[in-house]
Amino acid sequence: MSEQDRFRELIEAYALGALDASEQAALEAHLAEGCPGCAKGLEEARYLVSQLAYLAPPAEPSEMLKARLLREVRADLGPAKITEMKASTGTIPLWLWAGVAAMLLLSVYSTWDARKMQREVQDVNARAAAELKERKKLEQELSVAKHEARILTDPASKKIEIMPNDKEMPKLEAMWHPELGIYITGQKMPMPKGNKVLQLWLIPKTPGAKPMPSHTFWPDANGKIAEMVANPPEVMAQTKALAITEEPPGGSPQPSSTPLWVGGVS
């Protein structure tokens, strides 16, 4: 195999970002030499790789995101830029602008005002709907936060330390209130490998009884876990321990791996 062929075989993985450092450096050096075949192959591979985005499950951003974004964008324009844009029209003779303006006024004035009003009404309605949606979301978040605070502060809650099998891993903590549910917290948690999720299990006291499946969750981008289990599948008095395993996306009906964290309830 020629050196050219060897580099050509790396192109797709390079576009995917999957090459290890040494191969990446070698290929980049080759590309820097101006190999036209590899450059063309790389453009095609980048297009191919970009299409993998369409494998992502469909999801909808909130209306508030658009509202926030447009607010920032309009703020960016600012009075200075608007003045600058107006100044750039100075290269066109004033009489021509006056003529165009007069023609436009004659031809579109009758409909312009109505359309403007219509747009403004639509705009106000859209903003009101977005604000209402955001308010409902905040109310929900506040309700959840109050619920969590009650679990954390109520004397009836029991604290459970959920210890890792691997000493390098952080420990988790659960507060279990007999009526309000379980609130699990943790810091510096690594993201599960291979697209897996973390799943909570309740291990019943009854000998031979199967673990009861509960929530699936992930740490956030900062490795923080704050998971509320409002309706645990078993009561505290009947539960021997809490366990956490890594499971495929969506969770499993029964654990498919050894628990990575376990905490005794009583």
Partner: protein
């Protein structure tokens, strides 16, 4: 998920041309056309809706504030935008790793991407997603898994081999053969 405008690259090019000249309406239209696929991708990578919204906002603000970075002669707009969004999301995912720092260096200068083949032009978002998924379904489970780990989790050959407990050469073959098969599938679809 159907874009009301379809996926007409020339329409995008006109919008891009307008928003480069600071036309907010054109920028808003581009957002309406492509925010869903960008958000879907970022949420898939980060698995957290609030963080994903932050990153998507960051992507579109970057687009607005650095409009001149995109050059239409270096490839179509949407793949460029998706590359930017993926890089930003993976940067967010692995802020402290060396691989991430290398990628950050590349983020501000998205490389050239080939022009979309002729058959691409009329595909709307839903049809495009269906086609990519059906092509992926023709791959073996291992090929699919390895490609998804690389694309959505930003893992290298070695990291994937380690995670799957498979030989490095095997993982390389899965990814290369899988991508070549996808490429053939796209070409056959034309």
């Amino acid at each position: 998920m159907i874009s009301k405008y379809g996926d007409d690259a020339s329409f995008d090019a006109k919008l891009v041309d307008r928003f480069i000249r600071r036309d907010v309406t054109a920028f808003e239209q581009l957002y309406d056309r492509h925010s869903r696929i960008v958000y879907s991708l970022v949420v898939r990578i980060l698995q957290q809706a609030p963080t994903a919204e932050e990153v998507v906002q960051d992507v579109f603000l970057h687009l607005w504030r650095n409009a001149g970075q995109y050059q239409s002669d270096r490839g179509p707009f949407v793949p460029w935008l998706l590359t930017l969004a993926r890089n930003r999301a993976l940067d967010h995912l692995r802020l402290k790793s060396e691989r991430q720092r290398r990628r950050e260096d590349q983020t501000e200068d998205i490389p050239a991407i080939a022009q979309a083949p002729e058959y691409e032009k009329a595909l709307d978002l839903q049809r495009r997603a269906e086609r990519v998924r059906s092509l992926m379904a023709t791959l073996s489970a291992q090929q699919k898994k390895a490609i998804e780990m690389a694309y959505f989790e930003g893992l290298s050959h070695s990291e994937i081999a380690n995670a799957l407990q498979e030989p490095l050469g095997t993982v390389k073959s899965w990814i290369r053969n899988g991508l070549l098969r996808l490429k053939e599938g796209f070409q056959t679809a034309s």
